[in-house]
């Protein structure tokens, strides 16, 4: 009998099932556990109170990223509560161990979803978990990667497994060439605009099609990162030559004597021809324009050529109320062209868009220009110390500084504003991050999600602009 055609998700899932209960609950083995300071202290405490030890410390890669400042590193962490949380991570890792720990101020420290791939600690075929919803990022490497809560962090620490159930499968197929100036971020936002923030709930998404194949690994990470904003815990892309070349020579990539064997196994990590998905969504990438969110949910997105929607045109009363509430919070009038929306601050960074390619794209726009005088602050926060060093070798920091951007130390920064980088009430921000929820970047702050090039363009012009017209 011919073997059943399997999806990439099926293959990753099947390879990690330790045992299955009759009701479909599965004990799933976890290869890589990424740990950061915010969602781990209660898990380590639980472990300690139960007299348990981490099952396999070699699976753990840890860093401090959410709370860390992006300026004045010599002064340490001034906020005592943040400092305690970071020191608690130091102590927990110090007491129980890890494969690698990149503490605050280490030159390899950075956002956990940037440093995992950068170190080669995320590999194809792995299950990767972290107490952070943007763990979906690592699916770009044909890994099954998803965010978990703190109880599950403790469960993985104690047992190297999770009790979970298989999700449904969704293929998002984007064919055609993304036009110049249209990026993975725009593709991600367009997908979310299409299926909604709950469109992928209960599903694992595989991104495929010629537009996805054409993306760099950085672009694929951006796309998979945003899978959770479509409701899907996991996003993934099949292995190809780019995946393998990205990983070659990274610190935790397979040793040279194991490399060929690893690559041979990785090559099988793609959906079989004829594999069936529970849902299929198809997009024409060639028809996309740069995207900008206008509201308080990532699904509230339009093309830069579009306008703020008019609630009067919405027939459904509940939806109309939702639109009105979002417009009130965002301080926007219906039908305003997006290019008329002015910004107070610009944030280029986050696990979505802080990799070297993102900084290059933003710098290409900033080169030889100046941040508009109406813009109070334009931040560039590299995703890791190594991204920062690479950017400085390329002179990108100079370009940003000359243009009036602030060049910061790595971390999560103003994506969620747990450190000092934040919006003040009413401030409007062009942000390369992933969430435009109320208060996400600071209480009362107003976030518009865009690509790095679009954020840089908004900084230069003081309002949103189609970056393709700036060339």
């Amino acid at each position: 009998m011919p073997k059943l055609a399997r999806t990439l998700y099926d293959k990753l899932w099947d390879a990690h099932v330790v045992r299955a209960e009759a009701d479909g609950t599965v004990l799933l083995y976890i290869d890589r556990h990424l740990v950061h300071e915010v969602t781990s202290p209660q898990a380590y405490e639980g472990l300690r109170l139960a007299g348990r030890r981490p099952w396999r410390t070699g699976s753990i890669v840890a860093t401090a990223d959410h709370n860390t400042p992006t300026t004045d590193w010599d002064d340490g962490i001034r906020d005592p509560i943040s400092r305690t949380q970071v020191e608690t991570l130091d102590a927990n890792i110090g007491a129980t161990g890890a494969k690698a720990y990149f503490p605050f101020r280490d030159k390899r420290q950075g956002i956990v979803h940037v440093i995992g791939p950068e170190q080669g600690a995320t590999l194809p075929g792995m299950t990767v978990v972290c107490g952070d919803s943007h763990t979906s990022t690592h699916g770009a490497f044909a890994a099954l990667a998803f965010g978990i809560g703190t109880s599950e962090v403790e469960h993985v620490l104690a047992t190297q497994c999770l009790l979970t159930r298989k999700a449904k499968s969704m293929r998002v197929r984007a064919d055609g060439r993304l036009p110049a100036g249209v990026t993975a971020k725009d593709l991600a936002l367009a997908v979310i605009g299409r299926i909604g923030t709950a469109g992928g709930t209960g599903h694992a998404i595989e991104f495929s099609g010629s537009a996805v194949e054409a993306l760099s690994m950085e672009g694929r990470m951006t796309l998979c990162n945003m899978a959770i904003e479509a409701g899907a815990r996991a996003g993934m892309v099949a292995v190809d030559d780019k995946t393998i070349e990205y990983l070659r020579g990274r610190p935790f990539a397979p040793a040279p004597e194991l490399w060929d064997r690893a690559v041979a196994q990785w090559r099988a990590l793609a959906s079989d021809d004829g594999a069936s998905f529970d849902e299929v969504v198809a997009l024409d990438a060639s028809a996309l324009a740069p995207q900008v969110t206008w509201g308080t949910s990532p699904e509230m997105v339009v093309s830069i050529e579009g306008r703020v929607p008019d609630p009067d045109r919405e027939r459904d009363a509940a939806r109309r109320e939702g639109l009105e509430r979002a417009l009130t919070y965002m301080g926007l009038a219906p039908n305003t062209p997006m290019t008329d929306v002015h910004v107070d601050k610009v944030f280029i960074g986050s696990c979505t868009n802080s990799r070297i390619e993102d900084l290059r794209a933003a710098a290409a726009v900033a080169r030889g220009r100046r941040v508009a005088s109406s813009v109070r602050q334009a931040l560039v926060v590299p995703g890791s110390g190594l991204v920062k060093a690479q950017a400085e070798r390329e002179g990108l920091d100079r370009i940003f500084r000359d243009a009036g951007f602030e060049w910061r130390e790595p971390g999560c920064s103003m994506c969620l504003a747990m450190n000092d980088d934040r919006l003040e009430p009413g401030e409007r921000c062009a942000s390369t991050s992933n969430r435009n929820f109320e208060g996400r970047q600071g209480a009362g702050g107003r976030t518009h999600l865009v690509s790095p090039a679009m954020a840089a363009a908004a900084a230069i012009m003081g309002h949103f602009v189609d970056v393709r017209r700036l060339a």
């Binding site: 009701d23 004990l27 403790e154 104690a158 009790l163 939702g322 747990m418």
Partner: protein
């Protein structure tokens, strides 16, 4: 974990879709290294008129009288009635910790975000899924009848109004239901299979030694 058997509790409504975990518990409260004490800051930005920070005396803060949970009729609510995609956004378990610490024992909505849904079960908080039309009926009842309560029976997987004018069945995965009914520690359950995990791990790491 405290077992969940049956509950008859006052119902409070949050009538908006896509309530995210940033709204449920804002980021500044995530700096705590404890699991408890988040209740006073549940929905902080909606509930208070001033900006909250950890360590503030919440009793002295300005209450937003327009926020539904601040209405006296919902004081002591144990069941939260919500709209679709409740709990979307970040994986922070601080969200169910805050809901439980506030006093909620069960949630009713047409849908939840996946990670949040999992996190609720780990904390004795029962996330019940009912259809949009059933949820609509419940919103109507809550708004019409001050003091409206619901009785939730996990064993029978049933939500009922006290006069049984409305009785709704809900789905619950057998394993999760079993754990919640008995208040089981699932780490302990998994460790009963430690030998199977060890055998699986040994085989996997032998086949893919670069994972070590």
């Amino acid at each position: 974990m405290e077992p969940f058997l049956t509950l008859t509790g006052l119902v409070a409504p949050i009538d908006r879709a896509n309530v995210d975990t940033d709204a449920i518990i804002p980021k500044q409260f995530l700096k705590s290294i404890k699991r408890s004490g988040f209740g006073p800051n549940l929905f902080d930005a909606w509930r208070y008129l001033d900006h909250g920070e950890p360590g503030m005396d919440n009793a002295t803060r300005r209450i937003n009288p327009d926020f539904v949970l601040n209405e006296p009729r919902y004081r002591g609510a144990q069941v939260l009635l919500a709209r679709r995609n409740f709990g979307c956004g970040s994986s922070r378990e601080h969200a169910p910790w805050a809901l439980a610490d506030y006093g909620f024992r069960a949630l009713i909505a047409p849908s939840y975000a996946d990670i949040f849904f999992n996190n609720c079960y780990k904390n004795g908080l029962l996330p019940i899924v009912l259809s949009e039309s059933q949820v609509d009926l419940l919103f109507g009842a809550v708004n019409a009848f001050p003091g409206f309560k619901l009785t939730i029976d996990l064993e029978r997987q049933q939500v009922a109004a006290p006069d049984e004018s409305m009785v709704f069945h809900f789905d619950a995965e057998p394993f999760r239901k079993h754990c919640l009914l008995h208040g089981l520690d699932d780490i302990g359950l998994t460790l009963q299979h430690a030998d199977a995990v060890r055998a699986f791990e040994a085989r996997r790491l032998a086949e893919q030694p670069w994972l070590i």
